[in-house]
Every structure is written in structure tokens, then in C-alpha cells.
Symmetry: C2
Subunit: 190 residues, 2 copies
Amino acid sequence: MRRAGLTTDLVTRAAADLADEAGLDGVTVSAVARHFGVKDASLYSHVRGLRDLRSRVALLAAAEFADLLGPAVAGRSGRDALVAFADAYRGYARAHPGRYAALQAPVDPAADVSAARKGIELTYGMLRGYGLEEPDATDAVRLLRSTLHGFVDLEARGGFNDPRDVDASWRRTVAALHVLLIHWREALSE
Amino acid sequence: MRRAGLTTDLVTRAAADLADEAGLDGVTVSAVARHFGVKDASLYSHVRGLRDLRSRVALLAAAEFADLLGPAVAGRSGRDALVAFADAYRGYARAHPGRYAALQAPVDPAADVSAARKGIELTYGMLRGYGLEEPDATDAVRLLRSTLHGFVDLEARGGFNDPRDVDASWRRTVAALHVLLIHWREALSE
DNA sequence: TACCGACGCCTAATGACCCTAGGCAACTGA
DNA sequence: TCAGTTGCCTAGGGTCATTAGGCGTCGGTA
């Protein structure tokens, strides 16, 4: 009987692809097993279970995401960096909706969170060009993450029904964030 | 054998409460049946199935949400209206995380979407005080929804790890949105 | 009050899916 | 070549969604 030649990595990649196609809820042990033409139980040698599988997808996505965002901001600053960062962010979420969703799921505390932290650090680094210091930097990062995530999440769920071009709204949104960050100090002294 | 006295409405309410306690994924036919001390199959006289049940929770939430947001903005305008709106928005999401999550799920096309539309209209109405016209209004509504939803969603998922006070970040975020809306025209002509 | 029809809740049964335990065969390296 | 590892399997138990069909309970009517 031929072996399928599974590995933890192969299984994780298949799960990630499945997530993008069928949604994060579509990532099931059975579905992945089916994809490899293998019985459910066979996957348990490579993956601890469903939680573990989804966790691994999240980790994979976090690494990919950071690898995309890093180059986007490298060598840029200010508005250029923000636009590149935001476009890369939205681009990933659109190209890989399931992976992006996995990214939002609560992380297994035992997992390696370095990739996730790298993403946050990239955001802080990008904002350094706007000259914000604590606690403003934290507030600004939160605002930025909120807006980008919110837009992308609503878009993925089909939350924008109006015919008005969503791309245009996106550009406006990113532009608005830029204006905000520039005038942060003077506008928002508490 | 005593009857439990179920109705579609009772079942929906129980499901909504369950969503807030156990998350939207915790809303299952079995769990609701268990709550009433009834067999799973018994619920199918009142609800078409799991999809229908969750749909009804979303509808219930949409109505509650609109009933909360409406009074919050009534009689206010400008910054006051925005702050009241935003605080009511976040307040609902925090008090009813499962209902809020249900609100984001794709709506059954056959369902009554009037409550959802009412929420959007409230947002447009609130922005009227800022003197925005199309297409700026649509862009502004999208930015607003994105930021509020993003913040609330990240907060619910425990996405804000820093010790810095999340309430303070929220106030800053809402203040930032206000500044943005005031200067929308001059700052963002494309 | 006695009956009757409607329907509320039940049992039974199927099919997904998650997961564990234990076995055999297919690779791997000495 | 042969032994050990381990990849994948069978068997089996549990939860959950859903359908079909039955029975007893309740409200209304004679």
C-alpha cells in the first residue's frame, strides 16, 4: 500500500490552502485527510488535533504576513511607507482570506509568537517616521490596526454593499490615516 | 410529560444568551436543546436548523443594536453625537460579544434586513452634522465602521496586549475620528 | 364534560466530524 | 538483509445536525 508521504508541514500547507478556499471553518481534519486520500486518523501522527492544525495555519500565516509587510516598508518612510504597508496588508487579506482569518484567532499560548510580534514591531517601526512617542505611539498603532483590520474584515464579509468603488474608499481611508498621523500631536493632546 | 413551552422567540433568546456566554460557535442546536431540557429534534419545530437559528440571533441583535444606537445620537450632533454613537457601539459589543459577532455573520438573503439597514442609516445621519456629501459620506461611513468594528473586534479577541489603558486608546481613537471628519473636505480632496 | 384535532416533544436513525488505541506493513539505515 | 521506526490503517466511542414518524397533551368545540 502506497504511503501518501505526509509531513506536518505538508498537512499545514494543505490546511492553509483549504482555509483560503473554504473559510477557516472549512479547515477540518476530515477535509484535509480527504485531500490527501487518507483516513482521518492518519493525520494525528502529524498534527495533535484540530486546534493544533489551525494554530499551525495561524503561525504559517503570521510568518508569511510579516515577510510581506517587511519588504513593503523597507526603504520607505512617511506616507509612502504607510501606503505600502496598508496595501500589502489588504493585499494579503484579500489573497488569503482564510489565512488572514486564522491570524485573528486566539493563539495557543504555547505557540511561537515571534512572527506575530514581528508584525506589531513593523507597525511601530513604520510609525517612527511620524515622530510619535509613548503613549501616543501605542494609541496610534491601535488606531491603525483597528482601521486596517476593520476595513479588511468588513470587506471580506461583504459588508460594503454600496456600488461606490471600494478601492477608492480604501485609498481615502489610508490617506485619512496619514493626515491623522501627521497632525496627531497638535490635534489630540488630551 | 410536561411540555417545555418553547417558542421560536424563546429559543432565539436562549441562543443569543448562549452566544454571549460561549461564543457564536457555542450556539449549537444541542446546546440550546440542553438548556431547555429537551431533545435536539424538538427544536426543529421552532427553528429550521442551525443556520436559521444563528440568523435569528443576528436579527435579534440587529434590532437591539439599532435601538441602542438610535437614542444615543438623538438630540446630539457633531462631536457629542460621534462620541455617544461610538461608546454605545463599543458598549454593546462588550456587553454582548456573541450577539455582536452574530451581527457580522453573512445575512441570510431571505431575512429581514431592515434593522441592519437602520444601523447604517443612523451612521449616515450622524455624519450629516459634519456636512459631508457623496461620495465623501460613503467613504467616511466606511472609515468609521472600519475603525469602530476593527477596534471592538481586536479588543474582543484580546488583540491589545500592551498594558496601556485600552479605554484611553478608545477615547483617542474616537477623538481622532472627530478631527478627521471635521477636516475631511480640505484634507482629502483627491 | 367529553371528545378531537393540532402540534409539541419524543424515539429512532443517518451521516458528518473529532479523537484514541492498537496493528501491520512499508520504508530506513546498519 | 534484517530490525526498528513510523506512516497509515481498522475499530470504536463521542458530539452534533438533521429527518421521519409516533404519541400524548392541550385548547377548542359540541
